[in-house]
Amino acid sequence: MFLRKIATVVALTTLASSAWAGCGASDGRVSIVGNEFPAIQTVGAGAMECAGGGVTVEKNLTADHQKINVPGMQGNPAEFTTAIVANSSIVALMNNDVIRPLDDLVAKHGQGLQKSQLITVDGNIMGVAFMANAQHLVFRADILDQLGMAPPTTYEEMLVAAANIRASGLMENPVGGAYKAGWNLAEEFVNMYIGQGGEFFKPGSAEIAVNNQHGVDALHMMRALSNFMNPDFLTHDSNATSAEWKAGNVAIMNMWGSRVGPLKSDEVDPAVANNTDIAGPMTVGGGSTPASTLWWDGWTVSKNISDADAEATFMAMMHAIRPEMLNDETSPLAVWLIDGYQPTDAAKGVFAAAAMGTTPYPMLPYAGLMHSAAGKELVDFMQGKETASQALADLEAAYTTAAKEKGYL
C-alpha cells in the first residue's frame, strides 16, 4: 500500500515535471530559499514543477531562511538563485547588494504581473510580491458567545474578555501570543508601539527613539496581556502558539493571517476548528492605527548568477505564481496578490488590516538591528525584573552600539 502510494507520487511528479519541463526556459539552474509556512510551500512546489529538460530546480524552505539567504547569495555563482523574502528581509539582501534589478526580465516574461506586485526602489524593480500578510485577531466564537461578548476591537477590550473567560472558569490562560524571546517578542513590540502612535527613529536618521511614553505604554500592555498567557509564553513562537490554539487552550490571540488556515484544517478537533473565527487587527490606547504591521511576501533574483540561470529562475517563479495556481485548496492559504484571486473567508483579517490603514513594516536598512536588539533587551521587563523605561533604555543602547559598529551612525 505504502509502496504503491510512493510509486504513484513518483509517477505523478514525473508526469508533472514532464508536462511543465523548463516552464519555457531551455536550460538553467533554479535554487530557492525561503520561509516554510503553507503559502510559501505552495509557491515552492509550483516552481518545482518546472524541473525537467535542461532546467534543475531545488528548494530549501525553512524557518531559518534569513540566516542562510545572504551567505548563500554572496558567493559567485550564488548557491541560491532566488530568495523568497518579506518587506523586512528584502532589506538585508539590498544592504548586501546580492539581488539584481528585474526590469529586463519583467519586460520579457512578466506579462500578467500587476503593477502593484512590483517592488521598486527608485524605479528599479527589485522583487515581485505574491501575497500580503498581517497579524490580526483570531478568536473562538463559541467561547465569546457563551459569555455574551463581541470580538474585541481594541487590546483594552481583549484584556476585559480575557479576564471574563478566566473568571468563568472556561480557560485558565485564554490569551495566546507568539512572545518567544527574540524575533517574535520584538515583532509584538513593533506592533504595539506603532499602535500607540510611536515612531522608531528620529526622522531621516538612524538614531533610535523608542524610550518614550508610547514605548512604556506598549510594554505595559504587553505585560498585562502576558498575565493571561501560558506561563511559558517567552518560549512560544508562532508554531507553539498555533499548537496551543489547536489544543483548545486559547480563545483570543493576535496571529498571522497566513497561519489561520491550518487552525481550521481537518486534523484539528472540530470543536476548535469550526469555532475559530477571525477579525481585523486591534487598536490600542485609543489610537486609530491598528497595533499591527502589513507585510508582503515576494521573490527576488540573485545578482551573482549567469543570465541563463536568472532567466530560468524568473520563469520558474513566474510559473509558481501564475493565476492558474489558484484553486479551492490554495486560495485560502494567503491573501494572494495574483491576478484573478477571489478573497476567501480566511482573508478577511488581512483585508480589514489594509482597510484600517495598518502601517507596513518599516523597510529601513537598520530596522533589523532595532528588531534584534528589542528581541533580547525587552525580556527582562516581560519577566518583571526591571522597569519599562529601563528596558527601553537598554534597547536603545544595544541598538546604538550595533548601529555604530555597522556604520549607520
Binding site: 534569513q66 523586512s88 521598486t120 517567552l234 533589523g368
Partner: protein, 341 residues
C-alpha cells in the same frame, strides 16, 4: 627520535593545525579589530503593494571603491571590545560609581549582555563540571561491579545520552518538561502546584539546563573512568582488602588516586565544553533566562543584519575565557610532565 624523523612525522599534524586552528584564529582576531565601513545612506522612493514611501537605502556605489580597497573594513582597535555589547568598560565604571550596594552593582551588570551571559556560563561550568566527574565515577564503579554478561549492555545504555545529538536530546527533554509533558505534569502532581512551569522562571530554567548538562556529559566521564578502572592493580586492591579496608575505603584510597590523572583530563575537557554551552539554550528556548557567550555569537550572526565584528570579538573573548579557566589544569599537567623543573 631523530630530529629529521620527528619533523616528517609531525609535519601532517602541523599543517592541519595551521590550516584548521591557526588560520581561523588569525581571521577571527583580525576581524574583531575591524568594523564595516560607514554606510552612505540615500533617500529612495520605495514602492510596494501598499503604496510608495520615501525611505533610507544604502548607496552601494558611494563605498564600492572603499570596500574593494579595504575589504576587512575600517580599523577600530579595541573599540568593539570596549563597547556596551561586549566588555562595556564605560557602563561598568558608571554602575560602580553610582552603586548603592554591591548586590545592586551586580544586578545592574545584568543589563549588559556580556555579563548576563557570563553569569550563567560560569554558574553552569562551576556546577556541571564537578557533578559530571562525580556521577561519571559512580556510574563507572557501579557498571564495573556488575556481572560480566550485563556489562556490555549497561555500557551501551549508559552512553546513550552522549550519543544523542545535543540539540535533539535537549528538544526531546524540552517537550517532556513542558507543563503538558510527561515530566512537567508529573512534577506538578508531585508538588501539587498546577502552575508549576520549569520554563517560566529563571531559577528553574537554570536548574533544567544544568540537569541536562550533567545528563548529557556524565557518560563521557563514565567511559573514561570505566577504561581507567580496568587498569587498577589487583594486588593493591587485594592487599587493601586483607588489611580490612571497606569498599568505600578501597575506592577512596586505591581507585581514586589511581584515576586522578584521568580526573584531570575529564576536568580539562569538561571545563572547555561547558564554557561553550550552547545547544541546550537553543533546544530549551531558554534565551529569555539564560544566555552564554556562544549563544551571543550565534545570535549576532543569525539575524537579518549580521554583526560579524561583534561575533568575532565575542569569539576572542570566549577563547580568552577558556584559556583562563584551563590555566590551573594546564599548569598542573605541565609540572607533572616536567618534574625536574
Amino acid at each position: 627520535m631523530k630530529h629529521k624523523t620527528f619533523f616528517w612525522f609531525f609535519l601532517p599534524t602541523a599543517l592541519a593545525m595551521l590550516l584548521f586552528i591557526a588560520l581561523p584564529l588569525t581571521s577571527v582576531v583580525s576581524q574583531s579589530f575591524h568594523a564595516p565601513h560607514e554606510e552612505v545612506l540615500l533617500v529612495s522612493e520605495i514602492c510596494d503593494p501598499f503604496g510608495c514611501a520615501t525611505e533610507s537605502t544604502i548607496d552601494h556605489q558611494a563605498t564600492e571603491q572603499l570596500k574593494k580597497d579595504k575589504p576587512l573594513g575600517q580599523w577600530v582597535g579595541f573599540e568593539i571590545y570596549a563597547d556596551r555589547n561586549h566588555l562595556a568598560f564605560k557602563e561598568v565604571a558608571e554602575f560602580w560609581e553610582n552603586r548603592t550596594s554591591f548586590t545592586g552593582f551586580i544586578s545592574s551588570l545584568n543589563n549588559l549582555q556580556f555579563y548576563r551571559a557570563m553569569g550563567f556560563t560560569l554558574t553552569y561550568v562551576i556546577v556541571v563540571t564537578p557533578l559530571v566527574i562525580l556521577f561519571g565515577l559512580i556510574i563507572a564503579l557501579a557498571v564495573n561491579s556488575l556481572h560480566r554478561h550485563l556489562k556490555g549492555l549497561m555500557v551501551f545504555f549508559s552512553l546513550l545520552p552522549m550519543i544523542v545529538t545535543p540539540l535533539v536530546g535537549s528538544l526531546i527533554l524540552f517537550w517532556m518538561i513542558d507543563a503538558r509533558g510527561i515530566v512537567g505534569s508529573g512534577l506538578q502532581e508531585i508538588f501539587s502546584d498546577p502552575n508549576l512551569s520549569l520554563k517560566a522562571s529563571t531559577g528553574l530554567t537554570w536548574v533544567t539546563l544544568i540537569v541536562y548538562g550533567v545528563w548529557h556529559s556524565a557518560p563521557f566521564a563514565f567511559i573514561v573512568f570505566y577504561a581507567g578502572l580496568q587498569t587498577v592493580p589487583k594486588e593493591t586492591l587485594e592487599s587493601a582488602m586483607i588489611d580490612g579496608a571497606s569498599r568505600f575505603q578501597q575506592v577512596m584510597h586505591v581507585v581514586v588516586p589511581h584515576l586522578s590523572p584521568l580526573v584531570a583530563f575529564v576536568a580539562l575537557i569538561q571545563l572547555m565544553d561547558n564554557f561553550r554551552v550552547f545547544e541546550p539554550i537553543v533546544g530549551f528556548s531558554a534565551e529569555a533566562h539564560a544566555t552564554s557567550l556562544s549563544w551571543i555569537i550565534w545570535n549576532d550572526i543569525g539575524q537579518e543584519i549580521r554583526l560579524f565584528s561583534s561575533a568575532a570579538t565575542t569569539s576572542v573573548l570566549t577563547i580568552i575565557g577558556v584559556v583562563i579557566l584551563l590555566l590551573p589544569v594546564l599548569i598542573r599537567t605541565w609540572r607533572e610532565f616536567n618534574p625536574e623543573k
